[in-house]
């Protein structure tokens, strides 16, 4: 099933990517050809096959409820594009 230019824009919107008008067509072509490759999966019947989310048949290990981390704000905010008074800054959000 080919991906239409409208779908390209819809997906880009969900993924927070800005696709320029003159790129939309090429993305539609590229993504369609990938989806075309992917749809080779339809050749096999997978009814009743248990999906495999993980390569290992292991279960989640649980951590003891202990505080192990200390304040490293300065170190972390040294790589922040914009921080002030200990807060990360983004353009004003109106809720």
């Amino acid at each position: 099933m080919p991906i239409t230019p409208e779908e390209v824009l819809k997906i880009a919107n969900l993924a927070r990517l800005q696709i320029k008008q003159d790129e939309v067509e090429q993305y539609a072509i590229d993504l369609s050809s990938i989806i075309n490759l992917v749809e080779q999966m339809n050749a096999v019947d997978t009814k009743d096959i248990q999906p495999m989310a993980h390569p290992l048949d292991a279960t989640q290990r649980l951590r003891e409820d202990k505080v192990t981390e200390n304040n490293q704000r300065d170190k972390f905010q040294a790589v922040a594009p914009s921080a002030e008074k200990g807060l990360y800054l983004v353009p004003k959000v109106i809720e």
Binding site: L14, R16, A53, H54, L56, A58, T59, Q60, R61, L62, R63, E64, D65, K66, V67, T68, E69, N71, Q72, R73, F76, Q77, S82, E84, K85, G86, L87, Y88, L89, V90, P91, K92, V93, I94, E95
Partner: protein
């Protein structure tokens, strides 16, 4: 048209763990911004989550408390959406296989009617950070301390039909999580918050109407008000022939109204999928059984016991038990006093609750200890003081003037039970009021109260009311 309200609640409860659900950062409230957001909470590139055992234990405890099925295998999923207080661009939650499913909860309404509310599911998830819009003029500040605080989201069936029912349900859940000790339930600090799904349908219709979701209600009163507002708004919309828009709304407590949240209006497609950084959580049946044994006495059991053991009404038992600490206080009063349990219940739910409310004090910090209140009740019981004087003494105890006997002594409030003393007062009042006596004798029974009042006044409230009654009746024959 007759409308029926349909309400379902989603309650978010912060679990009282020491550390975050997926990291070793502290969950303590009120720290300086971003000082409790570690690499994992910040979603730095390359970091990975590891699940907190205590959060799992607490979720299981909740499941057991509401007679739910605790899943032997549950799975964490990613809920994908972009927002600055969600640093990874997804929230780790549970979707298809939650840890708790199919629970029930019984609520008791004001008229004593009982109703069972279904709990669809309760799942574990991480809390988001906070956006601070007021701090800067053109920017929003992001504090990620709260990120990763463990939550259980408790989703009810759409079983409630009024704001009253919704509040009763919410209070019951609040009471349970506090009894279990899995949350501090502090609503001001956001440890316990609620989203309300409200829809209307014509009475008799089976099919549900379109619902709205009102977000982040952090007090019982707000839930009640927001639901009332939504009911009125929706009926208005429907009766004007328009349609309800399925949307997220925000309750504005200052204006007492709900309004559409533009920022969330955009169609959400959360693209849930199993989180590949976490493996399935498997809970052994033996672990569940072990926790079942550790369950404390829960509100419902306690209510039954209170009614049996203390011969209390449904209403009294419900209200005493609602708050774990109140119930504990009540039992201590009873244990330390010779007075009837009913008297203790009246005092705890009456005068004591009133002043606690008025001064906004938790019962744990109450200046009148259970032992002190027990002493007061004993003095009522042994007729040392009247109920009326008891109230005065209680105020003095509240102000820190000492225990009951000290106050009686200091203020000379001991009840007069010497009948000759009372007789003198009665005679004085009869002699001073010949007109009223005339009326009484001509059949106006109501005037009797006047005489009682005058005698009590003359005794400064200290005369034993029963004796006053008896003597007056005798003398005015």
């Amino acid at each position: 048209m007759q409308w029926e309200t349909v309400i379902g609640l989603e309650i978010h409860v912060q679990l009282a763990t020491n550390s975050k659900i997926f990291s070793g950062a502290s969950t303590a409230y009120g720290a300086e911004p971003n000082t409790q957001a570690c690499a994992v909470d910040l979603g730095l590139p390359g970091v990975l989550p590891v699940l907190n055992k205590e959060a799992v234990r607490m979720a299981v405890m909740f499941g057991l408390a509401v007679d739910a099925k605790v899943a032997e295998r549950s799975v964490f999923a990613r809920k994908n959406y972009f927002y600055p207080d969600s640093p990874k661009g997804y929230q780790i939650s549970q979707f298809e296989l939650p840890i708790v499913e199919h629970g029930t909860l019984e609520i008791v309404l004001g008229d004593g009617e009982r109703k069972t509310i279904g709990i669809t599911r309760a799942h574990l998830e991480e809390d988001a950070g906070k956006s601070l819009h007021e701090e800067f003029s053109d920017s929003t500040g992001i504090d990620l301390n709260r990120c990763g605080t463990p939550l259980i989201e408790i989703v009810s069936e759409p079983d409630m039909r009024s704001a009253e029912e919704a509040v009763a349900y919410m209070k019951k859940i609040h009471s349970i999580v506090r009894y279990l000790g899995i949350s501090d339930g502090n609503m001001q600090e956001g440890s316990f918050r609620c989203d309300a799904n409200v829809s209307m349908r014509p009475k008799g219709q089976e099919e549900f109407g379109t619902r709205t979701e009102t977000k982040n209600l952090n007090s019982f009163r707000f839930v009640e008000r927001a639901i009332h507002y939504e009911i009125d708004r929706q009926i208005d919309v429907l009766e004007n022939g328009r349609e309800i828009v399925q949307e997220t709304r925000l309750y504005d407590a200052n204006k007492d109204e709900t309004r559409s949240m533009r920022s969330k209006e955009e169609a959400n497609d959360y693209r849930y999928f199993p989180d590949p950084d976490l493996l399935p959580v498997v809970i052994e049946p033996s672990f569940i059984e072990e926790l079942r044994k550790q369950l404390p006495e829960l509100p419902t059991e306690k209510i039954t016991r209170f009614k049996q053991e203390y011969d209390l009404s449904d209403y009294d038992a419900e209200n005493l038990v609602m708050n774990k600490e109140t119930a504990k206080y009540f039992e201590e009063v009873v244990k330390n006093s010779n007075a009837k349990a009913k008297l203790a219940a009246n005092w705890v739910l009456g005068d004591l609750s009133a002043v606690l409310n008025q001064d906004d004090i938790e019962i744990n910090n109450c200046p009148v200890s259970a032992g002190m209140l027990a002493g007061l009740l004993d003095r009522i019981e042994d007729n040392t003081i009247s109920s009326k004087i008891a109230k005065e003494i209680f105020q003095a105890m509240w102000s820190g003037e000492g225990d009951v006997d000290a106050i009686i002594e200091a203020k000379g409030l001991k009840q007069i039970t010497d009948s000759s003393e009372i007789e003198a007062l009665v005679e004085q009042v009869i002699n001073d009021n010949p007109g009223q006596l005339e009326q009484y004798k001509s059949g106006k029974d109501k005037v009797f109260g006047f005489f009682v009042g005058q005698v009590m006044k003359l005794s400064k409230g200290k005369a034993n009311p029963q004796q006053v009654n008896d003597l007056l009746k005798d003398k005015m024959k």
